[in-house]
């Protein structure tokens, strides 16, 4: 426990303190420790894990809706595309750039970029449909230098390099766990077909033969997105890890 004593200001001390303050000011005036980044002309070098605008690759996406479920600000809405698949669309007016969706996406379909300094003139434009999220957007870039914070010795140096920082970092896809959906209580099945209609990759099929309906899950097609598990009214479906390469 450190005891903090408040200094008693006698005449001499205050003169010394005045002199100290003036000398510090003078020293800074002669050799300033300026750390200003002149933004329009210089841009700050951001680390590769920076959380900026989000890019989307539709061919990887399995429409498992998890990104829309996890978004704290309800900024991601699934949009029905022309090919009858639901793809995410981000409303940047609500997005808080927490990148929970990027961390959630099982197939790295959502990739972070370093684009952050963007301004809109009205609210409707901020809603980016799925088609707008695939190719990197073009933003106004007036900078000639990139400034990086570097600490040499005991002081902060702003290292200025002339090149333009690449705003789309390469993200290598992260580990995935292959799972598929199975039914663990077939006698409770209603044969209602909800799982068939909601499976994005149509892995479950249903055929009616006379007074009997046969359901079949195609293990190869099923990607394990878990939508049928939630949709089934009797909760009899479960995700199971693929034994062979799931190790």
């Amino acid at each position: 426990m450190i005891k903090i004593k408040v200094p008693k200001l006698k005449m001499l001390d205050s003169v010394k303190l005045h002199v100290d303050a003036l000398l510090t000011g003078a020293k800074e005036a002669i050799r300033p420790g300026t750390i200003t980044i002149e933004y329009p002309r210089e841009r700050r070098k951001l680390p590769d894990n920076f959380r900026g605008y989000i890019l989307f690759s539709p061919e990887r996406c399995k429409s498992c809706w998890q990104c829309s479920f996890v978004c704290p600000a309800n900024a991601i809405k699934m949009e029905l595309a022309s090919n009858n698949r639901y793809y995410p669309s981000i409303d940047y007016a609500k997005c808080i750039f927490c990148h929970f969706c990027v961390d959630t996406c099982p197939v790295t379909a959502l990739r972070p970029t370093k684009i952050h300094d963007v301004v809109y003139k009205d609210l409707e434009e901020m809603y980016t449909p799925t088609e707008g999220m695939v190719n990197p957007p073009k933003i106004i870039r007036e900078e000639k230098y990139t400034v990086e914070y570097v600490v040499e010795g005991r002081d902060l140096i702003l290292k200025r390099t002339r090149e333009m920082d690449n705003l789309i970092p390469e993200i290598e896809p992260h580990a995935e766990v292959k799972e598929y959906s199975t039914c663990f209580d077939p006698e409770s099945c209603l044969a209602c077909g909800l799982c068939v209609n909601s499976c994005p990759v149509e892995a479950i099929s249903i055929t009616t033969v006379g007074q009997e309906r046969r359901l079949k899950i195609d293990r190869e097609k099923c990607y394990g997105c878990g939508i049928c598990v939630n949709v089934c009214p009797m909760h009899i479906l479960k995700l199971v890890k693929r034994p062979e390469e799931g190790g």
């Binding site: 039914c183 663990f184 209580d185 409770s188 209603l190 209602c192 077909g193 309906r213 046969r214 899950i217």
Partner: protein
């Protein structure tokens, strides 16, 4: 959930429809429009798109069934009045006593609440479905998980109006770990048994079914209009009771009673065609008939009911006394007469054969007696 076979292919039998069109249209034409529907709302439980609504204020209905119904036939499988096998008489039972709970106060002996509370304590079930009421006696379903939660909520006392217990049962079954206990009138208990026969998840998860004796039940809105017409203010109502053919409504400041016969015009069709008074299919049937005032008659029909009864006995939660079964027999006979209200073609095939068999051996018996008398 125990050892389950993880299959990728499975078959499901679906019932064959009687008329062209969607499954709901069949159910509507064959059960609801003909007045057989007892509002047990099993179909509302099982409907995958959740379109069938079962509110105490109106008949079972599926508003926009043309677009929403996906013709899966689940509601037909769940409905116990599709192939109607009427049940009657006191049914077989292991034990017949009358009990009065020490811990709870209820309609009579509060044995229903006692059974559920002890089952919770034993760990047979971890959740019980009770029908409570709000301050205008509208039935509200409560998921009770512990005995002291039971003390806080107003659940005891009969409500004499339809309560959509089964949709809540589905929510309970989805979440429970040990098992669910459910209380219900004969039509609800028959609905539960039909669901258990059709779907395995209900067989595993529903461990205790307590049935109530029931002459007839009412729709809430009709009962309320009728009682208000009779001068009963629901806000001040304390207790409703039907004993010795009289309907007694006791309010905080006054009491109104009138013969039950007068209420016949608001008895729903479902109850007119229902013959099961003593809740034949329940694990335990409880009612006020046949035991002295303040006691409830308890008919234990299943092993699980016996286990709970023994638990109550050695824990001393209730004291017991005699029951004279004649009154119950009289009421079951009275209700059995309602078989004639059931239109012939809706009776299930199985029921028709064994009725033919009963008639034959009754005739042989009469022939034999005539023969003995004549000798």
């Amino acid at each position: 959930m125990g050892t389950q076979t993880e299959t990728l292919e499975w078959r499901v039998k679906i019932p064959e429809k009687k008329i062209e069109g969607k499954a709901w249209l069949n159910l509507k034409k064959r059960v609801i429009d003909t007045g057989l529907c007892t509002h047990c709302s099993a179909c509302a439980l099982v409907c995958p798109v959740g379109g069938i609504i079962s509110s105490p204020n109106q008949e079972i209905d599926f508003p926009e069934w043309e677009e929403n119904c996906i013709d899966c036939g689940a509601c037909i499988r769940a409905c116990h009045r599709w192939e109607y096998t009427p049940l009657y008489d006191l049914g077989d039972y292991i034990d017949l006593t009358a009990g009065k709970s020490k811990r709870f106060k209820g309609q009579d002996g509060a044995m229903v609440t006692e059974f559920m509370a002890s089952a919770l304590e034993m760990g047979l079930i971890d959740r019980a479905l009770f029908v409570g009421r709000d301050d205008e006696w509208r039935p509200v379903i409560y998921h009770i998980r512990s005995v002291d939660q039971l003390k806080n909520t107003r659940v005891t006392g009969t409500k004499y109006s339809y309560a959509s217990v089964l949709p809540e049962l589905k929510k309970a079954v989805e979440v429970t770990k040990k098992g669910v206990g459910v209380i219900g009138t004969p039509c609800i208990v028959t609905g539960v048994r039909k669901l258990q026969s059709e779907f395995k998840v209900f067989r595993d998860k529903i461990n205790l079914v307590v049935g109530l004796f029931c002459m007839e039940n009412f729709y809430y809105y009709q009962l309320r209009a009728y009682l208000e017409q009779k001068g009963v203010d629901l806000k001040k109502l304390v207790k409703m009771d039907i004993t010795k053919g009289k309907f007694i409504a006791t309010m905080t400041d006054s009491k109104v009673s009138f013969p039950v016969k007068e209420m016949d015009e608001i008895v729903p069709h479902g109850c007119e065609s229902c013959t099961d008074f003593a809740n034949v299919l329940a694990d335990v049937s409880v009612g006020s008939v046949g035991s002295k005032a303040g006691y409830s008659t308890v008919v234990v029909r299943a092993e699980v009911g016996k286990k709970v009864l023994d638990y109550i006995k050695d824990k001393g939660y209730a004291d017991f006394s005699k029951v004279n079964p004649e009154i119950i027999e009289k009421l079951t006979k009275l209700k059995k007469k309602r078989i004639k209200n059931i239109p012939e073609e809706y009776l299930s095939v199985a029921f028709k054969e064994d009725r033919k068999k009963n008639r034959e051996n009754k005739e042989n018996k009469e022939n034999k007696e005539n023969k003995e008398n004549t000798e």
